[in-house]
């Protein structure tokens, strides 16, 4: 049995995508201050319940609430309170889901399952919609955890009477959930089964979206789903408003007709009174409809804003990807080019410890050497991407023979150009305006040379230089050590002396 479980483990590991990482709890703790990251229990469980069983907890909560009308509890672990007060206006009612002290829930996914089960059963949402709303509800309640200031601004007194600073919302740490979690589900009092029973605008409050944007994927897919959900809400309300508008227009037409009739004939005062009453009623309904239509317009504006935010975030990902691609292109050391890994392998060391190397392309999958350059004595361990080619300093035949600048084809690694002039094998190289600066060697004397892209030497310093010197280009000047240890200042074009900094 143990063997079998071990095999399952191995297979599961194999099934994971190559990029999968383990959750680093320490790292998560570091980011706690700036980001909603739920910390879930990672250890062994004595008893494992299925996702369906966990979701059923939510459904049972809904049943318990239905029985009582204002509250319910199940297994002495989870409670639900319906805090609806029709006498107070302008603020939200709420369903409050409480995780009680005896509850053992220790993963945010399970809190979401319970919430989704509740929303499905109590408010008639579809499975997918309930799952989405539950996710937003948990993030919303984590963002405003313990923020009584915020809650009191937005929720009715009855709702506030059920929460305090310690239990309002949900903590991001699973061990703080039992006995200290009261999640608010903002409600509008409408019929069951209507998409807008739950106030989605509140769940997608600016801070909630900001939190989601901190996620690696900026919460984009969830945000898109929420926009689509709101879109359906609006469509449903628009349909209602449209049929209501038609009904009221018909009523208005009938009323006007009646009024005309009354004008013509001698009307009984009771009839007139009834007509006036009817007109008042109609006007009230028309005002209500206008208010509804205004709400729809506001909701549409809200959706448009959220769409724009999502589009901008998606496009920023493209820009980031472009930047990364650009940086990658500029990388001069070991890099993957066209899915290939360039690798410099040490070939030999001379008595002084200097190395020569060979350059190969390795296919990372399935880790084989695809090709090795025929240029077999590359000095040192460095290669450079230069004008979409690869530049190295390589010896002619063996490590002791003169070295030259050599350009290699990026795919075949074959030599496609070589400087006529010898360079110091371990020369520092620098690049500016398409030119290559390197120390050139002539019978034991070292000068600074400037090569064009065809590796032709088109300038050489009069002054001798320290062959191991690094050099720096600044504006039109180049700084390099003289053999005496002074710093020579050379013209970057003709390499004539422009100054000297004495040691």
């Amino acid at each position: 049995m143990t063997k079998a479980l071990f095999m399952i483990f191995l297979v599961l590991i194999n099934a994971l995508p190559a990029g999968a990482l383990e959750v680093d709890i320490d790292e998560l703790k570091k980011t706690m201050d700036r980001e909603i990251v739920f910390i879930n229990y990672q250890g062994r469980h004595d008893k494992i319940e299925t996702a369906v069983e966990i979701k059923d907890i939510g459904r049972l909560l809904a049943t318990a609430l239905e029985r009582d009308g204002s509250k319910g509890q199940i297994f002495l672990k989870y409670s639900i309170i319906r805090a609806v007060d029709p006498t107070e206006e302008g603020k939200f009612d709420a369903d409050i889901i409480s995780i009680d002290p005896e509850a053992k829930v220790d993963h945010i996914d399970n809190v979401r399952r319970i919430t989704a089960g509740y929303l499905e059963a109590a408010h008639g949402y579809s499975e997918a919609d309930a799952r989405l709303l539950a996710k937003f509800a948990t993030i919303y309640n984590a963002v405003f955890r313990g923020d009584l200031g915020y809650f009191s601004e937005n929720y009715k007194a009855l709702v506030l009477s059920h929460i305090n600073e310690q239990n309002a919302g949900i903590s991001t740490r699973y061990f703080e959930w039992p006995g200290a979690t009261r999640m608010l589900i903002p409600l509008s009092v409408e019929e069951k089964g209507k998409l807008s029973a739950l106030i989605t605008s509140e769940l997608t409050e600016e801070k909630v979206i900001e939190e989601m944007r901190k996620q690696e994927d900026m919460g984009l897919e969830d945000r898109k789903e929420m926009v689509e959900f709101k879109d359906r809400e609006v469509e449903e309300k628009e349909e209602e408003a449209e049929s209501e508008r038609k009904r009221l227009e018909d009523e208005r037409a009938k009323l006007e007709e009646k009024k005309e009739e009354l004008k013509k004939g001698e009307a009984i005062s009771e009839e007139r009174k009834a007509l006036v009453e009817k007109e008042r009623e109609l006007e009230r309904e028309e005002r209500e409809l206008e208010k509804k239509e205004e709400d729809i317009r506001k909701k549409e504006e809200e959706i448009a804003r959220e769409r724009t935010g999502i589009i901008e975030d998606e496009r920023s990902k493209d820009r980031d990807a472009e930047l990364v691609a650009e940086e990658r292109k500029e990388a001069v050391m070991a890099a993957i080019f066209a899915d290939k890994l360039y690798y410099m392998k040490v070939r030999e060391r001379d008595a002084e410890g200097y190395t020569t190397s060979t350059l190969s392309i390795i296919d990372p999958v399935p880790e084989t050497i695809m090709i090795t350059s025929p240029v077999s004595h590359i000095s040192g361990r460095n290669y450079y991407f230069y004008k979409e080619l690869i530049l190295v300093i390589a010896h002619e035949r063996k490590a002791s023979s003169p070295a030259h600048l050599v350009l290699l084809h990026p795919h075949t690694l074959e030599e496609i150009g070589r400087s006529g002039d010898a360079v110091y094998p371990r020369s520092f190289l620098s690049f500016q305006s398409g030119y290559i600066y390197a120390v050139v060697e002539n019978r034991g004397a070292f000068h600074l040379g400037r090569f064009d892209e065809a590796l032709k030497l088109n300038a050489r310093s009069e002054d001798m230089v320290d062959e191991d010197s690094a050099f720096a280009l600044f504006g039109e000047k180049l700084y390099i050590n003289s053999p005496d240890g002074d710093i020579l200042i050379l013209d970057d074009m003709d390499l004539s002396r422009r100054g000297l900094i004495k040691q």
């Binding site: 099934a15 994971l16 995508p17 984009l220 897919e221 689509e228 999502i310």
Partner: protein, 571 residues
């Protein structure tokens, strides 16, 4: 218990192999050229015109036009969710249907040409007759025939709601299906030819080289052009609409996660278990590679012999792909993104129905655009290229009536652009000399051509007008060209502003009419495009202070305000 555990191990093992295989395939992706993000799901197939401009609709209630390099050209507000793919007419007008029952005809510059309100439910994918007639099916069960100007010619009421796009066969017969499992055939004048009761729900028919219909209904069924049932290849799952390769092989994916290749005689050639349900029709490329999207967010590329070649991942369901002549592949996804991939597989296959809705312009007609090498185009060219100014004007008059919706010509917009380019530049860049004198200089023809190009409003017309402004020395022609350019409006890459600015700098104070027209054009462009090119400002300021008429100076000031309202101008 032990056997259960071993079963789980076996399942997981194969799952791991599949995942590993998928990951390896994903490493081998073809290049993603670009992505275009919208504000809603992209459920319908993108259409592509002869210049590579991509038109598609998003659930954010907009029709988009995107340039081949991935930049937005314009967007058109639909005020309702789309319910069809865009269809590009021969004159370049883009048709799109909506859930609200509205059917829009949008000019190539994004302005509304006309709108037809079906009042019979959502407008589904229409088919385009050879004479420009639009056969528009609606979910309410009525198929409308509209002429190219949007006027109703006739209507046909099916027994139930229509459930498919319309397709047109070789003889012009119109085919579509309804929710009560019927397949209908109408003749081009709207009379019913036949109706066939099918064994399952019916999709959109594809028409084979033999004129037979291949349609999804409990698998794939073949029906002859006179309604006779030929064969039935049963698939035990909901099947996507089929496409047909050049060798007659029918390709369709299904909800059971299998992709099928079926011969034109109804025999299975191969089937491939992909492991992901397919609802959308596939597309076949020139090298017979098959591209198909799945509900598990992937686009699969399958070799002609039925092996997975590579996989591309989106974030949500991948919808119907379209392949263009230059080897680009475009598809939308439920993740709100239009993806553009560069293929190594070439353009679309040369088959009778290689992609859904037949071709990239979505004519849904057998032979589609191939039918358009018509006598009308040849006659028009003969008139335009003649030496007679009267015949040239006759050609222009025909074209104008066509664009204005008064007279249909079976001429593709590409031919119109070709003819208008010739007439607008004849005597300027196309010169005929006789004894050292240009003998084909017709400024009035050029002027008239420019006016018509402004109405044509295509990307091609735009480019021709820029050429005229740049090359023509006749002030009146230039003035007309600039005015026409302003009517088209958008200047996505800033080329028009640069050209106009250059010509303004060259112009003398005497060319007041041209300067005024140029400034008006700049104002129109600035209204559409906003602040783009700050190098314009000093030049405009010079005009406001220069030796020009009051009208011109005021116009320059208006352009300045349009370019940089408020604080930007102060800067």
């Amino acid at each position: 218990m032990r056997s259960v555990v071993y079963r789980i191990i076996i399942v997981l093992f194969f799952l791991s192999l599949f995942t590993a295989k998928l990951n390896a395939l994903k490493e081998n992706l073809s290049d993603l050229s670009w992505r275009f993000v919208t504000g809603g799901k992209i459920l319908y197939k993108p259409a592509v015109d002869h210049r590579g401009i991509i038109y598609f609709a998003s659930d954010d209630r907009h029709l988009y036009a995107v340039l081949p390099e991935g930049r937005e050209k314009w967007s058109f507000a639909l005020r309702s969710k789309p319910s069809s793919s865009p269809v590009i007419s021969y004159s370049g007008t883009i048709y799109i249907g909506c859930v609200s029952g509205k059917f829009y005809a949008v000019a190539p510059n994004g302005s509304l040409r006309w709108c037809f309100d079906s009042g019979s439910g959502a407008c589904l994918n229409p088919a385009l007759g050879r004479d420009g007639t639009i056969y528009l099916p609606t979910s309410g069960g009525t198929l409308y025939a509209l002429d190219f100007a949007g006027n109703e010619k006739w209507r046909f009421k099916a027994r139930a709601g229509i459930s498919s796009s319309a397709s047109i066969g070789p003889g012009g017969s119109i085919y579509f299906s309804s929710t009560d499992r019927r397949l209908y055939a109408l003749n081009p004048s709207g009379e019913k030819k036949w109706e066939a009761r099918m064994s399952g729900s019916v999709g959109t028919p594809a028409v084979g080289l033999d004129g037979n219909l291949y349609v999804n209904s409990s698998g794939i069924q073949a029906i002859s052009p006179n309604g006779k049932h030929l064969w039935h290849y049963s698939i035990p799952a909901r099947t996507a609409d089929p496409v047909i390769q050049s060798d007659g092989i029918i390709i369709a994916g299904a909800q059971n996660a299998r992709l099928y290749a079926i011969s034109s005689r109804g025999k299975k050639i191969w089937d491939l278990y992909i492991g992901e349900a397919m609802q959308s029709p596939a597309a076949v490329a020139e090298d017979n590679s098959i591209f198909v999207g799945t509900e598990n967010n992937h686009l699969y590329v399958v070799t002609p012999d039925g092996r997975v070649q590579w996989v591309f991942s989106a974030k949500r369901t991948v919808r119907i792909p379209t392949i263009t002549e230059d080897g680009s592949l475009y598809f939308g996804s439920d993740d709100w993104i239009l993806y553009a991939l560069k293929l190594k597989a070439g353009g679309p296959d040369d088959g009778p129905w290689p992609i859904y809705l037949h071709d990239t312009q979505h004519t849904s007609r057998f032979n589609g655009l191939k039918d358009l090498c018509s006598p009308a185009a040849m006659i028009l060219k003969e008139l335009a290229y003649s030496n007679s100014i009267d015949l040239k004007f006759a050609a222009l008059s025909d074209i104008e009536q066509y664009i204005e919706g008064r007279k249909f010509l079976a001429v593709h917009v590409q031919s119109l652009e070709e003819i208008l380019a010739f007439l607008a530049l004849e005597g300027v860049t196309y010169r005929v000399y006789e004894q050292g004198t240009v003998i084909n200089n017709y400024p009035q023809v050029r002027l008239r051509s420019c006016e018509i190009l402004g109405s044509l409003a295509t990307e091609g017309a735009w480019n021709i007008l820029l050429d005229v402004i740049h090359n023509d020395s006749d002030s009146m022609v230039k003035t007309t060209a600039v005015g026409a350019l302003a009517r088209i409006g958008a200047d996505v890459n800033g080329r028009a502003v640069k050209t106009i600015l250059f010509e303004l700098e060259k112009s003398s104070a005497g060319q007041q009419q041209f300067i005024f027209a140029a400034l008006t054009a700049l104002e129109r462009i600035a209204e559409k495009e906003g602040f783009r090119d700050p190098s314009l400002i000093p030049h405009l300021v010079r005009i406001t202070q220069g030796n020009y008429s009051k009208r011109i100076r005021e116009q320059a000031l208006r352009v300045l305000h349009a370019l940089a309202p408020g604080k930007e101008l102060e800067k």
